[in-house]
């Protein structure tokens, strides 16, 4: 099914090819800290039923960046137990480790350094969590950890509140991109405060990636229509009944949302305005 959808998309692109080129130039290349990404959709690796479903979903999403967490290795694995990287082609995907479950700047900084040693890249999705129930960030700890990791030479992508003042402070502290939440992590509520996402995008020079809370394809499209440079999500794909199909939907939604943003939508009006001519009606 998803292949059929891609086919349809490709045909549309070819049909309109002359007038409306759907290519990377038109939607702009996403560049962060000098690194170019062909996909504006980034996806996670958590909560999948199986690793092979995860692998197929990654392919269907068209992403080139995936996020991972850092945890203790299992010292007593079952025989034949597969690991995450049996299902991730590291040549194809850029790996972005996170500092999930860190509740202080110290823990997050330590985890970032462990991630850099494990992955040999100094990029980090920085999370400093302030509350177990909402998983909302502790923005004071987040700002402190951002400063320290920037000083240590990291490319820091902080997951933060949808608050323009904090976002600005993070940018000033040297964040390479700022990643405001749409809604609580894993909640699937969609963009709770569209105005805030728009304000953050307007205020910042660095890319803005909407991270967390996206539930379905229209949520991702809305985030992109608000001007976000990208969307990072995990649960919306992993917990969909058909994760592979949803990954394809997210790919199209992010592209559609981006094109819609760039095209400049019509103004909203309170009353109807006929699309067909008023004159020349046959009587």
């Amino acid at each position: 099914m998803e292949n059929r959808l891609y086919g349809l998309f490709d045909i549309l692109v070819k049909l309109y090819g002359g007038k409306m080129k759907v290519n990377k130039q038109d939607t702009g290349i996403l560049e962060i800290a000098g690194k170019k990404f062909s996909s504006r959709l980034w996806v996670g690796t958590g909560k999948y039923k199986t690793l092979s479903v995860m692998k197929e979903a990654h392919e269907a999403s068209g992403t080139d960046l995936i996020t991972v967490a850092i945890r203790r290795v299992n010292l007593n694995p079952k025989k034949g137990e597969e690991t995450l990287f049996d299902y991730i082609d590291r040549k194809k995907y850029f790996i972005l480790p996170n500092t999930a479950a860190c509740y202080s700047a110290e823990e997050a900084v330590r985890t970032a350094h462990l991630g850099a040693e494990a992955g040999l890249s100094k990029w980090i999705k920085l999370e400093v969590i302030g509350d177990e129930k909402t998983l909302y960030p502790d923005v004071i700890g987040l700002l402190e950890a951002t400063k320290r990791l920037v000083k240590d030479g990291f490319t820091v992508l902080p997951y933060t509140n949808d608050d323009v003042v904090t976002a600005k402070r993070l940018e000033d502290a040297g964040a390479a991109a700022v990643m405001p939440l749409a809604a609580p992590i894993g909640s699937g509520q969609g963009v709770m405060n569209p105005l805030n996402i728009r304000l953050i995008k307007e205020a910042l020079k660095v890319p803005v990636i909407v991270d967390a809370g996206v539930g379905t394809a229209s949520d991702a499209a809305i985030a992109m229509e608000l001007g976000a440079d990208g969307v990072l999500l995990n649960t919306a794909i992993a917990l969909a009944k058909d994760p592979i199909l949803m990954a394809g939907a997210m790919k199209l939604a992010v592209t559609a949302g981006r094109m819609s943003f760039l095209s400049g939508r019509m103004e909203k009006k309170n009353y109807a305005s006929a699309s067909s001519p008023k004159d020349g009606i046959s009587k």
């Binding site: 690796t45 996020t67 991972v68 850092i70 945890r71 203790r72 995450l84 040693e117 990072l232």
Partner: protein, 66 residues
């Protein structure tokens, strides 16, 4: 000698390096990061990092996450 690995008490013979410990657990050094007594050890130093009684070792790697 007794060493704590990822919070578990383990007993080993002497002359154990981090490189040997990693291979004991059938881990690839490319995919892990190791802390010895709260200090990260660079991969290049695994061979020469000799473990001592009461050392605390943390071995981490990437797992699924968002």
């Amino acid at each position: 000698m007794r060493i704590t690995v990822n919070g578990e008490q383990k007993t080993f013979r002497k002359d154990l390096t981090i490189a040997l410990l990693i291979s004991k657990y059938r881990l690839k050094k490319e995919s892990v990061a190791v802390e010895l007594n709260h200090k990260i050890i660079k991969k290049a130093d695994y061979e020469k990092s000799i473990l001592r009684d009461n050392d605390r070792v943390e071995i981490v790697h990437f797992v699924g996450g968002g």
